[in-house]
Symmetry: C2
Subunit: 353 residues, 2 copies
């Protein structure tokens, strides 16, 4: 018994080591791809490298690469060949897709800070103003960020040039869901009618599927292991909700120094987050303060009431439940990977930025 536990730990450690080795290749692939692209365009037209740099700057600015990590894990859990190049390209493509999403999101949210540095559209608006260039600085900065996003999406696609049609179909679904989730998010914010059901739906598409399930599914398809899709979907649903709830907690209670971007945006924007829908259902003090009118409630008073309420602990409780559910789903994956998937769920749910 003791030996088998030791063997299991050894195999878990080996699994993680294999994953990390592929993740290091993913980083190199991103670097090499972007460097090569920069060299090609520097010869064609020196100015054009600015757009490559805009993409590369976002890729290099950090991020924990959860989507590539889930993709590689899904692939190895499906017994994919760790030395094949396809998985490295697919995981790198997911990071470039996320780069695209961040560049466009920051324009749509008019966010000025990302990973503690000015966002692309803000930086290029400032450049436009500083040079006294023609036209509107805001439009120029936003146009550069939009085009940099478009280029990042193109780069992602180029990395997938060699992959199988089945994997590409998962990718197509993932991209479509991402655009739709984003659209419903801005529509809900504009309409400003708090709708808990729509909030769950958006969280499911933007976190559960985009960040967890579809990357795992891409990996599984690439490995030729479609039997893993069902447990991965179950796992992704739970981890995605935990991911989104952590996002809500960080926005509500963490400092901007910790997260590297502005915080308390949700309360200030009177957003019906998952956290807020739990607060309205379960916390009498919040329900009494807000009544039927979340959008009319004073943001500072609401934030103070959230701090005083038990919502923080309550949401931590829900996150813990989701992580347990994720563990149950993870147990349906091949043994060497079930523990690793559980561990990844914990990392995602208890991150600090």
């Amino acid at each position: 018994m003791s030996t088998s536990v030791e063997e299991k730990h050894a195999s878990d450690g080996l699994a993680r080591e294999t994953r990390n080795r592929i993740m290091a290749r993913v980083e190199r692939r991103l670097e090499e791809f972007l460097d090569a692209e920069r060299r090609v365009w520097a010869v064609r037209n020196p100015d054009s490298t600015q757009l490559v740099d805009c993409v590369a700057g976002m890729v290099r600015s950090g991020g924990k690469r959860p989507r590539p990590a889930f993709c590689v894990t899904g692939y190895l859990a499906g017994d994919g060949d760790p030395d094949a190049p396809g998985i490295v390209d697919a995981a790198a493509a997911l990071e470039l897709l996320h780069t695209f999403a961040l560049l466009h999101d920051d324009v749509m949210d008019d966010s000025d800070l990302r990973r503690n540095v000015p966002t692309a559209h803000v930086a290029h608006s400032v450049e436009h103003r500083a040079h006294g260039w023609r036209g509107e600085s805001r439009r120029y900065g936003e146009s550069v960020a939009i085009l940099a996003g478009d280029l990042a999406l193109t780069y992602a696609e180029r990395l997938l040039a060699e992959c199988t049609p089945r994997t590409r179909r998962v990718w197509g679904e993932l991209c479509t869901e991402l655009m739709m989730g984003q659209f419903l998010d801005i529509l809900a914010a504009a309409r400003f009618e708090p709708d808990p059901e729509l909030s769950s739906w958006i969280a499911l598409f933007k976190s559960g599927r985009y960040t967890v399930y579809r990357p795992l599914a891409m990996g599984a398809e690439l490995a030729g292991a479609p039997e893993l899709l069902a447990p991965f979907e179950e796992y992704g649903l739970a981890v995605g909700e935990a991911f989104q709830l952590r996002d809500d907690l960080l926005d509500a209670f963490a400092s901007a120094e910790t997260t590297g971007k502005p915080t308390r945006l949700d309360v200030r924007q009177h957003k019906m987050t998952l956290l807020m829908s739990i607060a309205l259902r379960e916390e009498p003090a919040i329900r009494d303060l807000v009544g039927d009118d979340l959008t009319g409630t004073d943001a500072d008073r609401l934030h103070a009431a959230l701090v005083r309420s038990g919502i923080r602990e309550r949401v931590e409780g829900v996150i813990a439940e989701k992580i347990e559910l994720a563990g149950v789903a993870a147990a349906k994956a091949p043994p060497a990977w079930s523990e690793e998937l559980s561990r990844m769920a914990v990392e995602v749910a208890y991150r600090d930025a």
Copy 2:
């Protein structure tokens, strides 16, 4: 001899007929794809269909489909099987890519009219204002148009899920060049330092390669006929310049009713178009008026001087030369297609919108 000419005409007619039959399938494919997508999303979330409709509205608003037509022609010239589904998907993908480009372009240019209807970002800004929704109407409208563009690009990629890596590589080049051409265009407009060389470069990437050469090349690769790439590139260079010069002429001298979009933008924006660089080189009256300072020249006086000058006829002469060069390149394509390619060059160069 007379018989052989008749045979040749018969074979040309047949070639065009085959092409048109595939083009009709491309239209059906676009319709069916967008309808199916709308049905799927109507079930998931009724609001989400707005984004599909935004893409479909642009696809259905017209356009002469030159990129799909060049792609199909390149494919048939390369002896591709007219009944295979891949060519239909590739040509439809090119039209969706163009839909993406138009949606994003209209935001970047803040253009309010396209094909005689309000542009997407304007229509959605108006909707936002009419409903009294929250946030800035401009940002909302532009965000919807950006996301609709992103969705159109995703749809294009989905249509290419089954195609070969070689064809996908041409597609990746085409998309990269499109984003870069667009970036250099807005950079040049912002810097506002007339640079004829940069103007030619942008015209080459945005018209010659994006509209003509790369679509032909995708078709040739799909047919497995890479030997056609060199003559297609030569042809694309000439037709692309003719295409761009016609664009410049329409902007300078046609009415907005004819083109379906605002005209005289280039002169009002003091843009260094290909037409303007020829005018400065060849028309003494224009050179005297402008001197070293295109950007400081009064737009109305410049336009009047262009009308009085011989630039219109001169540019028509250059277009005619380019069409002749295109014919020489087209003659290197298989006989059944060389005449058709010459005819397409004429259609592109003498279009009225």
